[in-house]
Subunit: 353 residues, 2 copies
DNA sequence: TTGAAAGCGCTAACAA
DNA sequence: TTGTTAGCGCTTTCAA
């Protein structure tokens, strides 16, 4: 059923080839200086605004530049003042994680802020046990700073970055107190949601959680347990299913919850929640009548369910914005907070009614 | 329900600040040359392998380099030979599109190939009517070439790139015959799937399609219509719903299909298909008994449905791989094919049984 | 086989 | 206010 090529309307094109020849007519600062009969220092000053320069020549230079579309070569500029005008953006390569819109959204925020400083974003895709791309970028000095998109309990990226001399911030929380962290206030978010549901009369909770090597899953678990204790309920470790990374383990946990007459299942993220919901839907288990379900992370994966799902809502883009601003501040030598926590929203919906 | 900060176990960190001080002890080619009592030309030759050099000195240099962890400064190298060692990766910023795993997967492929040449990926996020990020990157000469992740019928990115002198390739098809294109063979894929279903006895088809400004949607439509004609059925324009960009329009189209006793709905992509499926599920319409559904694009959005969904399967990562290889070939002056079409797989499942 | 020197395109002391 | 000059760290021609 597969094929490589076939006759189509485009087949004409498929048989055509092209090749590229460089034709560089790029104009340099020397050209501008020469044409205007000034030194390149003057041109440089007119553009950067640094150093004194008469308004007259400044205008002359600026006009010429605009007319002949001169753009300084950023790489040369960078070489002269030891900057790359790039910041590194580190994202996980495991497809289960990459597919989540979260990182794209974060990146939008990063990119938006970076652009305001004429900075660009350089990608490094890392795996739990292979951070070679990140190493290359940093060792090649291609970036002035790095933003790490997620944190692990044992995080090779962070270990590596700490040893190198690039400034960096992480999105997420790190056990490592030396690291600058931007995160949502997961712990309070989870605590609050749990607490609220308890105040509505729900008593028997279970938690189905993902990979405990992800810091965020640990945090969410802690928040959940805080919520229980806050309402005077002791945590039953048997009701906490962590490291449910496959559909099977999640479904198995869901099954058990059912048997054990759990009233409400809290899911560490939307993926897990989706799996739980699908499982119940297939088994014909009614939500919220037979069992209630809530998620500690919302996304449009959960969008289309009936009933709609109670969940915590965050703003990934804002995370990127703050991370990037913080990084810039840090790079420029300003004092920055070691840990910034962003808000959240508790959205109560039908699934816990 | 939202908040900015609160007392948590981390509150200690939240009140701590840090600041960064540069400490550059980077070793340069001059240092290496000096230490070894040779010229930097020699060091350069030892590393690059270009030019003659005695095996002895070559080894000496290499050893020293390894011992003291010398890495050439890629930016300086780039300045000297007019390369940036970056390629631009252009993706749409509209969230409905960004959220799709497609671009992430493509990028994985691009990144994998780029790394083999010591190249990195620079991101440009563009919108249908705002390609300023792309312009900046190109005008700032931050990249040696560009890969565009999707094509529009009226594509500002392509228009801009054509006018500039950067080599570029697009993933997807372009009306513009001058553009180097890497795409899946959508037209044959759609033709084949339609054809196969017809051979199974299905007669009344409808197509629900997305934004016609996306080239791929046009292509899929053409493939669909080819399939019909191939089996001797005339295309009923009334059965083709294009530009269904919102849930509402999709659902409306689905409704109509029902009323008009369509036997099988073909969806241009997985999003649309999802909407159709949810609609029918809510209305209690049985698939495939009451109506059949198939999708021209598969992804895990469709993963969890009962029954499983007949769809076309592609390999986005491969698209990235081929695009990046092609770009490198093109940059280095090799002849490249103007249009490369990659394969597909027809996956028949329960939804069309 | 090796090195001196010019140059990639820009910035920034220091002078004038 | 403007220009001279010396880099930034590397490559590459040309000579030795």
């Amino acid at each position: 059923m597969a094929q490589e090529e076939k006759n189509t309307a485009d087949s004409a094109l498929e048989n055509t080839t092209v090749h590229f020849q460089k034709e560089q007519n790029k104009i340099t600062i020397d050209d501008v200086a020469g044409a205007l009969g000034v030194s390149k220092t003057t041109v440089s000053r007119a553009i950067s605004g640094k150093g004194r320069i008469s308004e007259g020549t400044r205008q002359r230079v600026l006009e010429y530049i605009k007319k002949y579309h001169y753009r300084p070569n950023v790489v040369a500029k960078g070489l002269a003042n030891s900057k790359t005008y790039n910041i590194g953006w580190v994202i996980p390569g495991e497809s289960s994680v990459t597919d989540l819109p979260f990182f794209q959204r974060c990146m939008m925020g990063v990119s938006e802020i970076a652009a305001t400083q004429d900075y660009d974003i350089l990608i490094s895709i890392v795996f739990e046990h292979d951070i070679s791309q990140l190493k290359r970028v940093v060792k090649n000095r291609k970036v002035d700073g790095v933003i790490v998109g997620r944190t692990l309990v044992e995080d090779k990226s962070i270990d590596f970055l700490r040893e190198s001399d690039v400034p960096f911030v992480v999105i997420g929380s790190s056990m490592d107190a030396e690291v600058i962290q931007i995160d949502n206030d997961h712990i309070n978010a989870c605590r609050e949601l749990t607490s609220i549901l308890m105040m509505k009369g729900i008593k028997r909770f279970a938690l189905i959680g993902g990979d405990t090597n992800h810091v965020v899953n640990q945090t969410r678990r802690r928040g959940f347990e805080m919520g229980l204790r806050e309402q005077g309920v002791a945590v039953d470790p048997g009701m906490v299913y962590m490291d449910c990374e496959t559909e099977k383990t999640v479904e198995h946990a869901a099954e058990e919850c059912l048997e054990r007459h759990v009233e409400c299942i809290m899911c560490t993220d939307d993926r897990i929640c989706q799996t739980v919901l699908n499982k119940f839907s297939r088994k014909g288990i009614g939500i919220p009548e037979q069992i209630k379900v809530a998620s500690f992370y919302n996304s449009d994966i959960l969008e289309n369910y009936q009933p709609s799902i109670t969940a915590l809502q965050y703003d990934p883009k804002e995370l990127g914005v703050v991370a990037c601003k913080t990084l810039f501040d840090y790079i420029s030598g300003k004092e920055v907070q070691k840990k910034v926590l962003l808000g959240y929203e508790v959205v109560l919906k039908g699934s816990t009614q």
